[in-house]
Each structure stands twice: as structure tokens, then as C-alpha cells.
Amino acid sequence: MSTAPTTRRFSGLSARARWVVGAIAAVTVLVALVVLARWAWGLAGVQDFVARYPGVATGATRTGTPAWVDILHFFNLFLMALMIKSGLMIHRTRRPAAHWTRRGRALLARSRTRPATITLEQWFHVSLDLTWLVVGATFVVLLFTSGRWVRLVPTSWDVVPNALSVVLQYLSLHWPQESTWVAYNALQMLTYFVTVFVLAPISAATGLRLSELWPKQAAINRYYPIERARAVHFPTMWLFAAFIVVHVAMVMATGAVANLNHMFGARPGDSLVGVLVFTASAVVVAGAWLAARPVLLRPLAALTGKVTR
């Protein structure tokens, strides 16, 4: 309940004032960086650098986006939105809307103790998390068996200068001519790689530590206390949210129709298929977001467990 320490840390500003100040600061920094980059663009060395590293890392090419990528991408974004919503529900709830107790035998480990009771909000979050882990595992398996991993995993060090070059091109407003149907640029590659192979595992590992699924008597708990996991888990949500904001903004700013065709229509070109599928997906996500209320979650939770007050 106590919000006093955070308020004090930010010198007594209200939440809204902090957002406004933060937004103004971010825009100011961005404008300053653009001015700096445009100045640097004129330097001869920079021109050579950009010519030498046009933006795509060596070995990142793999043409086409198959349908399974689009399908898993949809499930991922659907679950991600609801995971953020349910996580915030856990964060904000002072009085749980209900409690849920597992019915029947445990799925993973057989326990002699009484099954744990969790709140409805926790049940919702953990159910989404586990589904997301299945989707993620499917994605990783298909990624490596199909050979498409070269689009996401850097295999050469020139990914770093190429990414720098892309940053410079965007900031100096000389946006590169992209063909993400063929390969992601180095900056995209690094961002996606970190999100999929670093951020996602961290949020999963810390989330698992916080859940009732984690063994309470495990020896590793001494070195991996729950407080540490809690301190990391919530900020990972902010990183995911930041990724989503920047990702969606860039997708829309760099040829939205073509990009949506790749990721929602599994096709190149300028047809409206991608836009339509994306719109339908957004409607589904918004509907699920609004429908995620106790009155509908309770009967859903009752399918797998006992729902009590």
C-alpha cells in the first residue's frame, strides 16, 4: 500500500507529472541526437563507415516468412498483452476476486502436501505464462530446425558496426531502404535476439521463482532468494512494454503495409491482407483485454480447479 518511498525518490512529483517530465526529457534527448547525427553524417569518415557497413550483418539472410512464424507471432502478442494485464492485476489487487485450488493430481510433480491455493489473478497470470512458454518453446524448436535462426542469432561480429550504422542512418533521417522479407537489419537482429533469448528467459525464470510451482525446499533457494526474483521480474515487464512501443512504432513507420504482410499475411508485397489480419488480431486482443474480468475468469478457472472466496 505504501507508495511513500517512490514518491520521495522522485522529489514529490505526482505520477502524471513524472510521466510528463519523462516524455519531455525523452523528446529533448531524441531531438539532440538527431541534430548530432545529422552533423556527423556530413563527415567523410562517417560516409565511408556507412558505405562499408550498410546495415545487414553477414549471414543474416534467409528469404521469406513462413505461416508458422505469423501464427506463433500472433499467439505471442495475444498472450503478451494479457500477461501484462494479469501481471498488473496481481500488482494492484488488494483483495483477490477469488481463490483457486488445483483439482486432482499435479501435472508436473506429485506432491504429498495439500495443493496450494492461489488468487484468481495469480491463476490467470500463471495459466497465460505456461501457455506462453509452450508457444515460445515451439518457436525456438521450429526456429532452429528450419534454419531460420540465422535471421535472429548474430553469427559475425560485424553485426555491431552494422547496428551502429543503422542507428546513425535512422537518427540522421537517412532511413535505409529495408527488405525485411530477406533479412532483418543488424539493429533489429540484436533487439530481437536480446528480447527472445535474454529478456524472455529472464522473465520466465524470475516469474517461475515467484510462482507456487517453484519448489520451496530447493537447495538453490539460498542463492536465488525470492526477493531477488521479485526485484527483477516486474522491471522485465517495463522492458517488454518499451520493446512493444518501439517495435510497433518502427513497424508502422518503415512501410507498414509490407511489414504487416510479412508478419500477418506470410507474403511479400502491397496487398491489404496483412493489414486486415492485423486489424482482426488487434480486435481479438482488445476484446480479450476487456473481457479479462473476475466474473468471466471465475468460470474459466473453475474448469481446472476449485474456485472459492
Partner: protein, 255 residues
Amino acid sequence: MKIAVLVKHVPDTYGERRLDPATGWADRTAGDQVIDEISERAVEVALAHKDQDRSTEVVVVTMGPPQATDALRKALAMGADRAVHVLDDALAGADLMVTATVLATALRPERFDLVIAGNESTDGRGGMLPALLAEMLGLPLLSALRTVGLTEREVSGTRITDAASTQVRAQLPAVISITEQLPDARFAGLRGIMAAKRKPQAKLTLAALGLEEPRPRTVVTSTTAVPGRTGGPRIEDDGSAARQLADFLADRHLI
């Protein structure tokens, strides 16, 4: 069978509750206002009987300000058939006698087989209303029931007090009050919430009941806020902490 359940809309015990210092009444603007938990259990007792015998009619009755409609709607969403709301500005600050008189007048013409109430509300905590009501209606009272058995002709149960638990029973019609040892109330589902909007809700004023403006016989003479907590003494261990702790407890006759 026709069952009346008395429900009360009260300040939520989950948050901070206050008295209005001017009137001494519960402040109904501070924090959330909810249906009293014991009222929900009382509704559950009636609905459990309705589950067995579909011909049972469950009527929820309340006396309270306009917001008390929320409590009635919740009970209707759980499965009650209709609601009666006694609503009149002149009833603000009603004491137990006024409340019992008004509710008895509202209940009498309906000729209920059973009136179910909670043993006491979480705001007033008088616990006298069921007895007053039984007296005014001329009906037997089984109070503080831990279990309730209901047949066509008779209500029975285990009555608990600090001293003993007693098996009691009475011919219908009767008034009973229940304790929180009875089962938790069911959740209202989406279908129940939708159906509740179409269920009849009668609003009754004092004039409609044929009552004069009531004169409360209870007067609040003073109200005092609970003093805020102050920090206790702090004992640093300089070798004598155990003795200091023991002295602290001994001074307060705790050991």
C-alpha cells in the same frame, strides 16, 4: 415456500471505516460500500433450499439509502427472485427500534414462511434486530444458528452461544439468524448478473407502508476517533535486552 432474507449495505470492512462526527452515524461516503458478508451467507442459506426445491421464492429485503440497491442487485444476481427496498430520507440514522418497526411492517403483508437474517451487521453490530423483528411479527426466533435444516413445516438447527451449543427447532413461520459458520456464498455468474437486471425490485416509502415519520429512541451522545498508533519503546541489545524484555512484559502483567 416463501423466504425473506434481510440484507444490509454496509461500509466495507476491508478499508478504513469512519463515523460522521456531527451525527455519530456511519460515514457512508468513506471507502467502498458493499453487501454485508453475513447477508450474503443468509442469501446462500435460502438459495441452498431453493436448489433443493425449485418452487421456493426468495425475496431479499433491505432498508437503506439509494446505494443499497447494489446490495439487492448482488443478491438477485446470486439467484434471489425479487427484491424489496424500503427507501425514505426520513429513515436516515434510524435506530434498531425504528428499523425493526419499518421492516416488520414491510414483511407482515407478505406472509413469509421464513425470515432469515445475519446474526449481526459488521457496521452496527447490534445483533438485536432479528429478536425485535420476531417479537413484532409474533413469530418464534432461532438465533445464532451454526447449521440450518429446513422442511416444509419446520426449521431446525444448532444454536451457538459462548456457553453452549443447543439443538433448536420451530414450526414455520419463523425468524432465524445465522452465524458465519454457515457456508460461503456462491459467486454471481455472468448469467445471474444479466438476469438480475430483469428481476422485480419494489421500492417502498414510509407513506406506502402507512407509517408516520419515525422518532429514534437512541441518541448518540459522543463519538471518539480511535487514537492513531504510536511507536512502542525500542530495545537495543547491549547485553541486558533479555532482562529489559522480561521487565517490559512483567510491568504489563503479561507474564
